[in-house]
Amino acid sequence: MNAEHSAYALHELLRHYDIALLVGLSKAAGKTTVLNALIEASFAKGYPEPLAVTSIGQGGSIPETRLYPGMFAATASGCLPDCDFTRKIYHMTGINTSLGEVAVVQALSCGRIRLAGPAINSRLDGLLRYLKEDCGAVQIIVDGAGDRKTFAGTGAGAAVVLCAGAGERAFYMEAAVQEIAHACRIMSIPAPPECDGNGAFTQIDGALTIEAAQRILEARINNGGIVNIAVSDPGKIFLDPASLDKLEERGLRIYARNPVLLAAIALNPEPFAPTEFIGRMREAVSVPVFDVVNNG
């Protein structure tokens, strides 16, 4: 393991974006580990600009993290009594959650806090704007949900970090690599090319399943053998690798009206050998891959 694959390097990469959204491919993919590693990296590097963190409420698991002086957090007021750093209350957002209204606090000392941000993605944009414009946060990290729903409504410009681990493929590394690579392929679905004015674009609002794709092929609306489909965002694509290959072979081209900006994969290598797993993963995908568990 070397430093260029570490949380420090991932943090450095994410400094190019205003907002980083952590998305888990499965449970125990290490999303909170990534969040903590990024906060530690930011503190250790001693950057003067403030960092802000929040989460998308996911009912049940509330990530706990550690903040350092000057950092901001947006969390439900019900999480404040057990936050153990000296804190300044900055703003009440008007966003209600089952744990109370989401408050924006600034840490004046270091300590832990549980993050339970807005449960609805639609309220996230306003909160992110507040953190950026009113708190002056230069980097915002959002601990997203552990499923696909998170993609919608996170605003343009958010860099997505796909947090992935062995998941259910714990016995066969190659299967885990393929699964993550497939998720990566779907998340990299591009925006539709502009000015495609010949009407051969099929817009889909709901899920793109194999049945839906079949129906579109049967309708025989094509443009010289190419069938163009636009889904609202990559989270709506429910196709396994084999089906996707076959559909592409038959001329199907999938686009996302709200594409995801996939910036990196944060890998939790457990239980595989880290070096080997990371190495295979880097061969399988074109985005940077980081190991944030075994810091370089």
């Binding site: 007021s77 404040l80 000296t86 300044k88 209350i89 900055y90 009440m92 004046l108 000392s109 300590g111």
Partner: protein
């Protein structure tokens, strides 16, 4: 006391108007939700309320920038009554979030007062005043930063400063410590420091709560003033949007020129037309309203009820000019008395409602009956309507009865008729279609004078209306046969 239920407010179009009131604060919104009409005898208070709304409307028209500045300042207030209730005995300690909210309120108040005073110089509101609470704000802003953020500052206690200094020192050592016994003991030390910090913060919050409690009356008085100002501005916005007028408070009579109902007018405007305003003058006793089907009797009655009710609630009136009195009660029978729940037929429900009205009739009421007893046979129905008119005419209340029955509108009563179909236009029309009705109909109310020979007869327009609505030609022929044409 005037008390309309939601169904009645909906029927007369008051629910529509009240929905359009859009206060900026939770306090103003609550005032609108619990809107209480003034009582007879409170004319002075009503006058002040109406005058404030009229002044605010002038401010909006002449000085929109100042008006919106005031609205913007108001919009920053959040509902902190949950926190303030903790200041009442038994005192409960405010959390840091609650102290933040209270501080935010006091900062907003400090912003509002100068803006209000500036507006008030121009507008001249009466009975809305704010109490300066800078002293209360000083409690929550020990370094006088003027910022909205709040934390339990070390400025409150030397002890807190020492605890935090120590905690910080432990944290620095902890960050540098390697895993092992040193780390374990430092972690324990940090926990103790954090607990001591919590305990001292609680002491301070308790002290702050006690200090704030000394100002609790001022908090609640300012909230009441915010609610009233907010409500006044909301009324003014509505009044400007709909060209409302400041009514004159009359003793016991009604004179309204060109009144209209926003709900009816907006619905018509969506179809490219507008409501024809109606005028009416009423005094104690009974007024009988007659007129053709679809001639606008019901709309006129609802519009009258609407404006009388809104006036009683302190709103400006939807009319060109208006003089209205305060009533002890308002009773409307407009054909929508629900009979499902009482197990009575529509006729039965109506009679039950009439009984209620007569029981309340001791005071000064506004009674509006739209076609009483229309659901029974014409002979007895006419008798019921005539008897009601006779009975209500003996009261000091103002009653308006719309009817199709002949010989109810005797010269004993003040009488109005809807102007009805324009005969010449009907004759000139090539084909009669429902779309033509609004063009052929004159919806205005005309007072019927004593010497008009046909005064007691109601108009005979039903057949023409049937033709306009495109009733089956065979049936029309049969009707004409029945009428001996």
């Amino acid at each position: 006391m005037v008390n309309l239920n939601y169904q009645q407010k909906k029927t007369i179009g008051a629910a529509y108007v009240l929905d359009k009131l859009n206060p900026s604060t939770p306090y103003g919104r609550e005032l609108v939700r619990g809107l209480a009409p003034f009582r007879r005898g409170e004319e002075g208070l009503l006058e002040r309320e109406l005058r404030n709304a009229a002044q605010a409307a002038v401010l909006k028209k002449d000085n929109a920038g100042t008006f919106y500045n005031l609205l913007h300042t108001l919009s920053k207030f959040r509902d902190i009554r949950g926190s303030l209730n903790k200041l009442k005995p038994p005192l409960r300690v405010l959390s840091d979030v609650e102290l933040f909210e209270v501080k935010g309120f006091l900062i907003s108040l400090n912003e509002l007062i100068p803006v209000y005073n500036e507006c008030n110089g121009a507008a001249g509101f009466t009975g809305i005043g704010f109490i300066d609470m800078t002293k209360a704000l000083d409690i929550l802003d020990p370094d006088k930063s003027g910022l909205r953020s709040f934390y339990v500052s070390e400025l409150y206690s030397e002890k807190l400063r020492d605890i935090r200094r120590e905690k910080k020192d432990i944290e620095a050592r902890l960050n540098a410590a390697a895993d092992g016994p040193e780390r374990v003991s430092l972690t324990l030390e940090r926990m103790r420091a954090a607990a001591a910090e919590d305990a001292e913060e609680l002491n301070i919050r308790e002290r702050l709560t006690e200090l704030l409690a000394e100002h609790k009356e001022s908090f609640f008085m300012n909230i009441a003033a915010i609610a009233r100002l907010d409500f006044t501005l909301a009324k003014a916005e509505l009044a400007v949007a709909y060209n409302c007028v400041m009514p004159v408070i009359a003793h016991n009579s009604i004179v309204i020129e060109e009144m209209y109902s926003p709900e009816a007018d907006d619905a018509l405007k969506a179809r490219g037309r507008s409501m024809m305003p109606v005028s009416i003058a009423l005094s104690p006793g009974v007024c009988i309203l007659t007129g053709a089907n679809m001639g606008g009797k019901s709309v006129a009655l609802k519009t009258l009820a609407l404006n009388a009710y809104l006036f009683q609630c302190g709103l400006l009136v939807f009319a060109k000019s208006a003089a209205l009195p305060l009533f002890d009660a308002m009773d409307f029978i407009m054909g929508d008395e629900s009979s499902v729940w009482t197990g009575l037929s529509s006729f039965g429900a109506e009679i039950a409602a009439l009984n209620g009205i007569l029981e309340r009739a001791g005071g000064f009421s506004l009674i509006i009956l739209d076609e009483p007893a229309k659901g029974t046979n014409p002979e007895e129905g006419r008798a019921v309507a005539a008897a009601l008119a006779k009975r209500l005419n003996g009261l000091k209340s103002i009653s308006v009865i719309a009817t199709h029955y002949d010989n109810v509108a005797t010269t004993d009563y003040r009488r109005y008729a809807t102007a009805g179909l324009k005969k010449d236009k009907v004759a000139a029309a090539e084909r009669l279609t429902p779309e033509l009705i609004p063009e052929l109909m004159d919806y205005r109310l005309v007072e019927v004078t004593q010497n008009q020979a046909t005064a007691q007869a109601v108009p005979r327009d039903a057949l023409t209306i049937c033709k306009l609505l495109g009733l089956d030609a065979g049936v029309i022929e049969l009707i004409e046969g029945e009428l001996g044409f």
